[in-house]
């Protein structure tokens, strides 16, 4: 018997320097990340597309 449907919780992540928000739900089409892109799946060398001075490890859940 199939289990209950898995619910994927989408989170927003915020750049602490400039306030840019990466929304997993919306993605960032301009940067080439389609809706539903999980933050953890972004490349390790990902940097904030607005300020470029904060990396993936610096982002905080918004």
């Amino acid at each position: 018997m199939p289990g209950p449907p898995r619910v994927m919780l989408m989170t927003d992540f915020r750049c602490p320097e400039c306030g840019y928000i990466f929304s997993e739900e919306a993605g960032d089409e301009h940067e080439g990340y389609p809706p539903g892109t999980l933050f953890r799946s972004l490349p390790d060398d990902y940097v904030c597309p607005d300020c470029s001075v904060r990396g993936k490890e610096d982002f905080e859940p918004a």
């Binding site: 320097e17 400039c18 089409e29 940067e31 080439g32 940097v47 470029s52 001075v53 990396g55």
Partner: protein, 404 residues
């Protein structure tokens, strides 16, 4: 004069007045200076007047910086939000955009329609190029902002100096890699500006193209696509330069070639002095430390800051790239240039003199402390610099020092 009022955490109210408020319009009018030379030439018939902006930029501006001195004043943090929202300041950065076009068209018209000596013709092209180089500064201020309107204005103004890739390269490449050996736009100790330009100009374009190519690849698109942001600006550049060629004939070929090279040279000059020799350290994971204010050379000279939208408050700019020009701050113990940018440019054009002034200043910085491992050194000059300033041992101290 307009002021800003805010409450401190103690409950005390503060009132701040920006005494430089109206003087920021100098950044708008400064790019019009070639017209002064053109007007004086038309009035007197003396073609030497066309070179007047070179005198204004490289003699008068450093003298004014020397006379007027430095401004270390900062807006209080509590009013920065109000200052940033004051539309007047951003309006100035919008207003200067058409003036960059006007200056290029005016100088090209004069060069294309007057019977000039070869030296006056080339001089006017140099003047036009240096002035269009200021357009890169305007594009720099606009390109750092989040609004689509300001980013589009950046792309438009960067078409004047044919540097449409700058917006991508600077924001996504230079700010990420600044003050590391990997950055083609950060000068190394012992690297002359002439050698630096041969690394910086092609390196910056290559990095911008790669960044845009990777972004488009993620979107499943070719780099040769209407969505390529570099091509937006470059297409406008092609239209401008082709239009000038059609309007004023073959004379525009040497004029525009000289104009373009000197416009790029302006940015090269700024990049050269802004991070010379400074180096970010790597952490235990091999990642570069976050860019700190001491990873840029700063200058508080009033005049040259007023004509460059505060570009010389470069330490705060790199630490907080989206901060608007009117809110950039000075900090204590920053790496500090001995002159404003125009004076520093002149110094850099004479490499032995630049090294003489700057190398000791670099070694004496508090976070460097004479340690050559904390300096971004040109690999070609490493041995010579170690011989001159003391070979560094593995224990983290320097044997000998910079004073020989």
């Amino acid at each position: 004069m307009k002021g800003y009022t805010a409450a401190l955490s103690t409950g005390e109210a503060i009132h701040y007045i920006d005494r430089k408020r109206w003087f920021w319009s100098l950044s708008v009018f400064y790019p019009l200076q070639p017209f002064i030379g053109i007007w004086l030439h038309s009035e007197t018939g003396n073609q030497a007047w066309l070179l007047l902006p070179l005198f204004l930029g490289y003699v008068a501006a450093p003298i004014l910086d020397w006379i007027l001195g430095e401004d270390r004043n900062n807006p209080p943090d509590e009013v920065v939000q109000q200052l940033d929202r004051d539309y007047y300041y951003r309006f100035l950065t919008y207003a200067v955009v058409p003036l960059h076009f006007l200056t290029l068209f005016g100088a090209a018209w004069w060069a294309g329609t007057q019977s000039l000596h070869w030296w006056a013709f080339l001089g006017l092209a140099v003047v036009a190029g240096i002035t269009s180089g200021l357009g890169i500064n305007t594009g720099h201020e606009l390109g750092h902002k989040k609004s689509r309107f300001e980013r589009w204005l950046a792309k438009i103004v960067l078409a004047v100096p044919v540097y449409g890739h700058f917006w991508i390269e600077h924001n996504r490449g230079h700010h990420r890699d600044v003050s590391t050996p990997e950055d083609p736009a950060s000068a190394r100790m012992g690297e002359s500006i002439y050698r630096f330009s041969r690394r910086e100009i092609p390196g910056a374009f290559q990095r911008a193209w790669t960044i845009e190519k990777e972004r488009l690849a993620r979107r499943g698109r070719s780099v040769w696509n209407a969505d390529n942001q570099i091509l937006h600006s470059m297409s406008l550049s092609a239209a401008i330069q082709l239009g000038l060629l059609i309007a004023f004939g073959w004379k525009m070929i040497p004029f525009l070639a000289v104009h373009n090279i000197f416009a790029w040279w302006q940015l090269t000059s700024a990049n050269y002095v802004e991070h010379y020799g400074l180096l970010r350290q790597k952490d235990a994971n091999g990642k570069y430390e976050r860019c700190q204010p001491h990873h840029s050379w700063n200058s508080n000279h009033i005049f040259s800051n007023l004509v460059l939208f505060h570009l010389e408050r470069h330490s705060d700019h790199h630490a907080h790239p989206l901060r608007r020009y009117q809110s950039l701050r000075n900090f204590d113990d920053l790496p500090t240039l001995p002159y404003g940018y125009f004076g520093a440019y002149l110094l850099s054009y004479v490499p032995w003199l630049w090294y003489r002034v700057m190398d000791r200043r670099l070694l004496a910085l508090p976070h460097v402390g004479g340690d050559l491992d904390r300096i971004n050194i040109d690999p070609r000059k490493k041995q010579a610099i170690q011989r001159k300033y003391g070979r560094h041992d593995n224990a983290g101290s320097t044997a000998g020092h910079a004073d020989d």
